[in-house]
Amino acid sequence: MSTEILVEVEHLARDYGERRVLRDIHFTLRRGEVLGFLGPNGAGKTTTMQILSGNLAPSEGRVRIAGHDLLDEPRAAKSALGYLAETPPLYRDLTVDEYLDYCAALNRIPRREQKPAREAAKRKCGLEEVGGRLIANLSKGYQQRVGIAQAIIHLPSLVILDEPTVALDPIQIREIRALIRELGRDHSVILSTHILPEVQTICDRVLIIHDGELVLDESIGHLDRHLKTASLTVAFRTPPAMSELERLTGVTAVQPDRDGRLRILHDTDRNPTDELVRIAAERGWGLTEIRPGRLSLEQLFVEFTADRAPPP
């Protein structure tokens, strides 16, 4: 990942009639970064992506891609982006090869380079076997891959994927996810999804949008900053009473967990691990296991979106 800023979004707003569905969205994306875009349904994810891809004009604010303003220099800006909408824009009556050739031409790839570009995109997306088949006859997973191939055929610096794994089976989801991770090496990716583990495994950074507003913009490594509570999972040979654990400094609650383990919730800034280990040794509880609770993005997501009023 370089430090070069690829996408700049400033004070983006969008109205539908009287209703303002996006408010003051702003973020930047560096080259080679994979950005996860989260939010409940109707939060404005798709609207934002439609604006970023030039399908929708913003009511306020501006978007710069690779230094080009999307409204003032649409051709230059759009050359640098590939977009896969929620519904892949596929011409069902074309074969995969015909379709990709058309996409290559639309993206102004010189005629001589169209075939190599098409073959490279097919290779990346695992489409080598189906080049001659009609898109209408492909399975949903393959159609999704054709959609991704379409978005990367001109090797754009920015790839925008709107819920690319929706309606796929678990195996297809794994494959698409691997593909996106692979894309992250050469392209910047903006990915919107509902599937939180997906974000945790592929993304470098997370944006959470709620009710048209940006409520979180943080790198995956620093998410714990935003959690109000953290947790420890522990197991004892002779477990003490829960009340004894609750008396430790910083502990807010103790919950039974699977297989006789206990889950200790504590304040993020007061970690009771040292004290717990010391006391467990002194009193002979027989501590057999202690590990930090895995930070769950779900927890974060709920914290950031649940305590606000739902959209009308």
Partner: protein
């Protein structure tokens, strides 16, 4: 870029049976009409015509009748060819492919228009075959035939522009077809009540098609068609832009 889009439009017409069916039906009906004009209208009176001093010739009896009917028939068919241009892309959401590609709205509109026009030129060739078949058995006034065909081409170009614009207004191809059909029919019939005079009569497509059929090339008529086409194409571009602004 325009040609890329045009070529795909043209090819996609032939990927569905619709274009083939249309060409077949068109050719059949044109054949019947031509035969009717030739055998029933012209044939029995041939001798009488020959006695008239300075009569205009067979071409001027057969060709205008034939091309008038062909024009009317195509008025019914062009909306079926143009209905999908934008409406279908919008309905199946493939329009995002064009919107996020480095392609301007003008290029999209011109590409689609050109795609349909290539198809309509093919239709024109099929229409032309019948009068030209008279060459096998005799001489015809080629000037009249080609002026008439040129007029038909301009008229078809106007039809296509109307159809394209209406297709940008909706996401239902069927609605686009019926609305274009209605609009064209109004354009065509608008002067029925005025007996061919005044502003309303001037707006009628029909009044700007007829002179060509008589072998008269009037720049005013050609300008009428060109103005109509340019206006509608500009409106289509604006309509697509407005779409992006969300002023639905």
């Amino acid at each position: 870029m325009i040609f890329t889009i045009a070529w795909r439009e043209f090819r996609s017409l032939f990927l569905s049976p619709l274009a083939w069916a249309m060409l077949a039906v068109l050719q059949l009906i044109l054949g019947i009409l031509f035969f009717y004009i030739l055998i029933v209208v012209y044939g029995p009176n041939q001798d009488k015509y020959a006695l008239v001093e300075g009569w205009p010739g067979a071409t001027l009896i057969i060709v205008p009748n034939y091309l008038t009917l062909a024009g009317f028939l195509l008025l019914l068919m062009v909306p079926l060819m143009t209905m999908r241009l934008v409406a279908e892309e919008r309905r199946s959401k493939t329009i995002t492919l064009l919107f996020s590609a480095p392609v301007s709205m003008t290029e999209i509109v011109l590409g689609k228009y050109l795609g349909v026009m290539i198809f309509l030129l093919l239709v024109l060739v099929l229409v032309a075959l019948m009068p030209l078949s008279l060459l096998v058995g005799g001489r015809i006034d080629l000037g009249v035939v080609f002026t008439g065909l040129f007029g038909l081409m301009l008229t078809l170009a106007s039809f296509a522009a109307v159809g394209l614009f209406i297709s940008t207004l909706t996401q239902h191809p069927a609605v686009a077809a019926i609305a274009s059909f209605g609009a064209l029919l109004c354009f065509w019939l608008v002067d029925v009540s005025t007996q061919g005079t005044g502003l309303i009569a001037y707006l009628s497509l029909f009044n700007h098609y007829q002179p060509f059929l008589q072998g008269v090339f009037d720049t005013a008529d050609a300008a009428y068609h060109l103005l109509l086409i340019v206006t509608l194409l500009v409106l289509s571009v604006r309509r697509l832009d407005a779409d992006r602004m969300g002023i639905a």
